[in-house]
Amino acid sequence: MYDKGKVLIGLAIFVIAALSIVGYNATMGDVDSFRTDGKPGPEKPVGHDKCVKETAYMQTSHMVLLNEWRDEVIREGKRELVETVGGEMVEKSLQNGCMGCHISKVKFCDRCHDYTNVKPYCWDCHLAPVEAPASKEAH
């Protein structure tokens, strides 16, 4: 084998580079937002166990509901409260409704949006809840 030394050095560099990615994710990476099984783990609100629709619907179609609410509230002036599956009354509003229970954008919205690499533009205008300083540092 010609240039044995050079080839081995090159191989070693490649293996180290490849492993460094795994190593970085294992030690330094943003492991906070992922559970050990690799799925996003949005934190459910404490004290409210039912949303305005069933969980399966909310997981797949919350953006559709938000658009419907937007049109009803702004265009049609239908600002009445909506009842959750659990019987609570909430405002049809992202800031004043949803985020009233889901008090953290970082620990709820961002978990799945980061995981699926979705970048919704809601927060260009809508104000995210003020996060507790501790949670910001942890993230």
């Binding site: 937007r70 702004i74 265009r75 049609e76 002036g77 600002r79 800031q95 004043n96 260009d124 205008c125 809508h126 104000l127 809840p129 003020v130």
Partner: protein, 275 residues
Amino acid sequence: MDNTRRKFLKLAGLTAAAGVGTTLLGSKAMASGGGGHAAPAHGGHAEVAPTGTRYGIVIDTGKFHDNPGLAQKCQDVCHSYHNVPDFGNPKDEIKWIWTDKFANVFPEHSHYRRDERLLSMDIIAMCNHCDNPPYVKACPTQATFKNADGAVMMDFHRCIGCRFCMAACPYGARSFNWRSPRGVDKEGHPFIKKYNQRFPSRMRGVVEKCSLCSWRTKKGKDPLCVEEACKTASDAMIFGDLNDKNSKIAKLLSSKFTIQRKPALGTHPSIFYII
């Protein structure tokens, strides 16, 4: 030769007569056919017959003159609630409610040799929530529209920032975010001093305006500016349904002399002024 000319003229005359005849017949038929459906012409100076709710405000300028700083208070309450940015220069100014002198608020009225009090007054100006709003037609995305309560609303989600509405509004009631309202100025001061978590901000490239506090009026509350003004001087601003004959505002309008801004444009403003 003569014979030919005579024939030609006869023929031409007949053709012309036939042409005029058919036109007349045609228009007559159209008039009788479409007569039943012809809607009365809107616009112009005639008020449109009242139907449904039409919210409006009467502003008593004298009460604001007697309470200096009251207009500023109203503006502060409105702008701080609605996260209206202060860009620090009049060219980029965002205003939902503001004050100006009589000559600027009522440019079509003579201000020649008016009394000192009138000329020195700071008069509140805001969106007139016109019954015939010209910019609703100008908006290519229907981001701005008139709601069922007669308030002219903006759906900020849909605004593409073309600023046609700003050109179409004769009252300058619309402002454009040339920069991000969430940004900071050269000295690092944020354009929005204190965020109100209950209301969104806007983003760069979006037009914004007064929404007649539709989120409050739906719950039976007065708009913020009206509430604030009445805290200091009762009835400095009166809010209500112009179409409801028994409402306070309708009774006031029928008993007091009031003026509107630029009524000749046919926009039918819903904001009235007691001078």
